[in-house]
Each structure stands twice: as C-alpha cells, then as structure tokens.
C-alpha cells in the first residue's frame, strides 16, 4: 500500500496572531510553526500501517521553502520520503489541485490529510482532493483499518459516531482518535539524523488559480472587563443573564 500524508505547516497553537501591511498579511514574526495537529495524528497512524502492514509512507506539503523543516520533522518521525510542491498555498482549491497531481503521478492508494488545518480552518482540501481524483472520502475520521483494498473507518458525527465501509483509493480527513495523544512520537536523535539523508523532492506547481482570496484580516473587538458576581449572590448572575445578556 502506498500512503501519502498531507502535511500543513501551521502556527503553533500558542501563537499570538497579528497582521501586517494594513492588516492584509499574517505576521510571521516570532511565530513557531508545527505540523498541523490533525495531520500529526494521521502521520502516526500511517507509521502504524508501515510497521504492521508494510506500507510505504510519503509526506507532501504545498508551500514555500520555509515549510521544509516541518517536512523534515515528518521524515524524522518515520516517513520514507517528502515532496514539496513549490508554490504559495493560496486557497484550499489551489492546494487540492496541486495535491491531485501528486496523487495521480504517485499512484497512491491511501491519502491521509487532516480534518482541517488550524490556521485557516477551511476543512476543504481533503474533500476537494478526493473529488478531483475520484477517490472515496471519509472526514472527521477517528479510526481507520485497511485490509487488502477494503477499509473500515469511523467518522465522528454531531452527537456521536458512525462506522462506514469503503475501499481504496481513499482520502481521509483525520483527527485525534486515529491514534491517541500518547501514541504521538517525538523525533529522536537517530530519526533526525536519518531524516537528513531521506529524499525531499521539490516539484514545480501545475497551473491552478485560487478561487478565493483573504483580502484583509481583523481581530475580534477587545471585550470589556469581566463582570464579577459574588458567589453568595447567584440571583444576580441569573438576573444579568436574563436582563442584560438576554441569553436565558
């Protein structure tokens, strides 16, 4: 089985979000980048398939050279080879177009992406990619087993979960549950050394025009100070929620 794990390179969860150029650009100053958490769960599940079922695992990112440390980290965790499509990730559609080319050329059976990336939270790349390549698609995936070309997956739905059966070729939008937090691997020294020798191929992009464009950013209006209510005066809270906030 040939697996491709899509890695988006996102600001660490603790990052302060700021903008420059008249609020038209994300300010990368001082921002630490990491593997998108949903993709890290997917990558770890892919390592399981590699170790238990003899799959090969490549990772891919659509982005500039600045994302290479993130791909190297994925190699250090255990992926066999990395691909970077050398173009700015302008929107979900354009990214999916680039990935579709990589998937077709590489003949991947299983593509593991994340449910959403935590920067733009589009939640669109995996579905679009599945649609473009004609693969089956399951998102919000919290468990995945493959036998031959058959797959069983569990999808989180609002208020519960459902079990589905499907087959390869398959695209997954993964999240926590594919593996648990305790299964995540921190790259060790040997992994890091080996990663340096693993191939990282840079591909030139195909023609793909973005369909959408974030033209400006805003931060939520600063909110007023919290109104503290005395623990012995809970009637006051009920009153405020009813008459002032009008939420009950």
């Amino acid at each position: 089985m040939k697996i491709l794990v899509c890695i988006s390179h996102v600001p660490d969860t603790t990052s302060k979000i700021n903008f420059t150029d008249n609020d038209s650009k994300f300010d990368t100053n001082g921002v630490q980048y990491v593997i998108n958490p949903n993709d890290e769960f997917g990558l770890t599940r892919a390592m399981w398939f590699k170790e238990k079922q003899g799959a090969s695992v490549d990772v891919v990112n659509v982005g500039g050279a600045e994302t290479e440390p993130t791909l190297r980290k994925a190699l250090a965790i255990g992926a066999d080879a990395a691909i970077r499509v050398n173009t700015e990730a302008t929107d979900g559609y354009a990214v999916a177009k680039q990935l579709a080319k990589v998937v077709k050329d590489g003949g991947y059976d299983l593509v593991i992406a994340g449910r959403e990336s935590i920067d733009y939270n589009g939640g669109m790349v995996p579905g679009m990619l599945a649609s473009m390549t004609g693969a089956n698609f399951v998102t919000n995936c919290i468990a995945l087993d493959i036998e031959g070309t058959n797959a069983k997956a569990v999808r989180e739905i609002d208020g519960g979960k459902e079990t589905v059966s499907t087959s390869l070729p398959l695209v997954i939008g993964g999240q926590k549950g594919l593996v648990e937090e305790s299964d995540l691997r921190i790259p060790n020294m040997r992994g890091i050394m080996m990663a340096r020798k693993k191939p990282l191929t840079v591909l030139e992009p195909v023609d793909a025009k973005a369909e959408t464009k974030a033209v400006s950013f805003e931060k939520p209006a600063p909110k007023g100070a919290v109104k503290l209510v005395d623990a012995d005066n809970i009637d006051e809270l009920v009153n405020l929620l009813h008459n002032e906030a009008k939420v009950i």
Partner: protein, 320 residues
C-alpha cells in the same frame, strides 16, 4: 439567478440551523434582488421554510437518502443548483454539511468559504467575513468564481421570520452510487449536540473526576444545554472525546458558554471565542478565563454550581 440553500433535517424534522440558513439566504437574496430556493431531503412540512424567506422548496423524497451520504447529498444539491441557475449556494456548518461542501464545490466549480459569520459586505467582488486562526481573527474573503458557496457558522445570523409562504415542488435528482457505506450509527438521540446547542455547559479538570459530572449534567439539563469539556478531561477518559472543545477539538458557537473549573488556556479559548456570552466559575481569580469571560464567579464549583442550578430551575419555572 437565485440563492439556493440546503436545509438539514433529522428524522424528517428540520434542524433549527435549517431555519437560520434560510433566514441568512433571504438576506443575501434581498441584497441581490433575487429569491431563495431551498432544497430539503426527506423532510416533513417543507412549506414551513416559507416563514423564513424561501419562495420555493425543492422537495426530495428518496429512501436511498435516508442515511446521510456526502457524495449522494452533494450530487442532489449540485443538480438543484444547476436547475435553479443558482449563483449563491448557502449551507450550514454541521459535520454533515462540512463533509459534503468540498465535494459540491468541485462539482459546481464554485469557490467555497466556510465559517462565515456575516452577510456579504460586497456583492462584487463577492466578499464575506469568516473566522480564521481558530477564532483568533476574522478574514474578509473574496470569492471569484461565478457560483459561490457560503458555509454559515451556526448561531451567527439568527432566525428571521418573514411570515411568507413557499411553493413546494417535488424534485427527483439522479443519485450516483457511493463507495462509502454506513454500517452503523452510534448516537444519543435524546441529547442536544454541541453543534446545535444554544447553550453549552463545559467542565474542566477543576471538577476532579468523572464522578462529579452530575453537577454539569444537572445544570445543562435545566438550561437545555449540551455538555462539553476541556481537552485534559477527555484525554483522562472522564468524558468522551466528542465533548472535547477547543482548537484541537470541536468549535463552539453557542449563545451562552458556561465554563466550570476550566483555566482558560489559549487553545481552549480559541475554540469557544465565537460563543457570544461566556460565564466562568473558577476558584482561582487569576485564572486566564476571567480575561475572556463576560461574567464570572470566583468560587468553588462544588458549592456554586448546585446553587446556580437551583436558581435557574426556579427561574425557568417562573418564566415558562
């Protein structure tokens, strides 16, 4: 040129979010000088959408669509959009709608923007405001394609009753085969889900253990609320993972969010920032949550919460 809106139902009953997306679609149609057509799949009383501004409902009755399937549903909506010559398609933000939207976008060659929180600020270029960076910011986003798909964030527009009526037209789109088959569904049907809830009551590690969750459940019951939790609580197995909210969990966009024994770490706040009113109950006055909340009580959850539940029970009884 019209606005098409996909209205979700469950076991035949429209979700509240269905009325919200129709209200929102009506506001866009008014701006554009056009009408709203809704598509409803196996829903009872489709004409009721007229009250929120739909002029017409394409009514699909097809037993092969009884169980949600993203590919099949996307195909039905795609056919409806083409038939109506829709230039804007509005969908909601449930797990199912988010699942089908990217498939629909590719099918219609339409630009899709999710997590939208307001009506378009401009029709040309078509510009909508969406949340980004997990609610830490908003992005004003243009859609450049002929057909635009807008995914509305729950509870961001509200319901607007117009008192209008809708004509109902039977609609039988061709449904493709899907390579994904649902084998079983495991879902508590009697509980409000976080996605649909107007009020969410959430507990953190401050509650000490799963045996104390009665506190959270009682308060939630009085308020008709969904229950949620912080990440460590689900990691520890005190609560199911599906209740974990935050940057790496579920987003919450309720009208009221009550956080009990939750410190207010940046990753937690990121997921709940788009809730309108936030209340925190915490013993530590220095807890970061107090900076993000609208109302707060510095106090012990084990004393404060049962009292609050009682007060609200009385209040609800008087205001029923």
């Amino acid at each position: 040129m019209s606005v098409l809106v996909y209205t979700e139902s469950e076991k035949g009953k429209f979700k509240k979010a269905a009325f919200e997306v129709v209200s929102y679609a009506k506001a866009i149609a008014d701006k554009m000088g056009s009408d709203v057509t809704a598509i409803a799949i196996n829903a009872n009383a489709p004409e009721s959408l007229g009250n929120y501004g739909a002029s017409k409902v394409l009514n699909v009755s097809d037993s092969s669509l009884d169980v949600f399937n993203a590919k099949k549903y996307a195909a039905a909506i795609e056919t409806a959009a083409k038939k109506e010559n829709a230039s804007v398609v509005v969908i909601g933000s449930s797990a199912d709608s988010r699942y089908l939207a990217p498939l629909l976008a590719v099918g219609l060659e339409a630009g899709y923007v999710s997590n939208v929180v307001d009506t378009p600020s401009n029709l040309s270029p078509f510009t909508v405001k969406r949340t980004a960076f997990t609610n830490k910011a908003f992005a004003n986003t243009e859609i450049h394609t002929d057909i635009k798909i807008v995914g509305l964030s729950n509870n961001s527009f509200g319901l607007v009753e117009t008192g209008g009526s809708a004509t109902v037209e039977d609609f039988s789109p061709a449904i493709p085969d899907s390579g994904v088959r649902v084998e079983s569904v495991d879902k508590a049907t009697d509980k409000v889900t976080i996605a649909d809830a107007e009020v969410v009551v959430s507990g953190g590690r401050g509650l000490k253990g799963p045996e104390n969750w009665g506190l959270i459940e009682d308060l939630a019951e009085v308020l008709g609320a969904a229950t949620a939790c912080s990440k460590p609580v689900s990691d520890l197995g005190w609560r199911p993972h599906s209740e974990h909210v935050g940057q790496t969990g579920k987003p919450v966009a309720s009208n009221l969010y009550i956080a009990i024994g939750i410190s207010g770490a940046i990753q937690h706040l990121a997921g709940i920032n788009s809730s309108k009113v936030k209340v925190v109950i915490n013993t530590d006055p220095e807890a970061p949550f107090f900076k993000a909340a609208d109302y707060g009580i510095v106090g012990d959850a084990f004393e404060v919460v049962p009292k609050l539940t009682e007060k609200l029970r009385t209040f609800k009884a008087q205001n029923a």
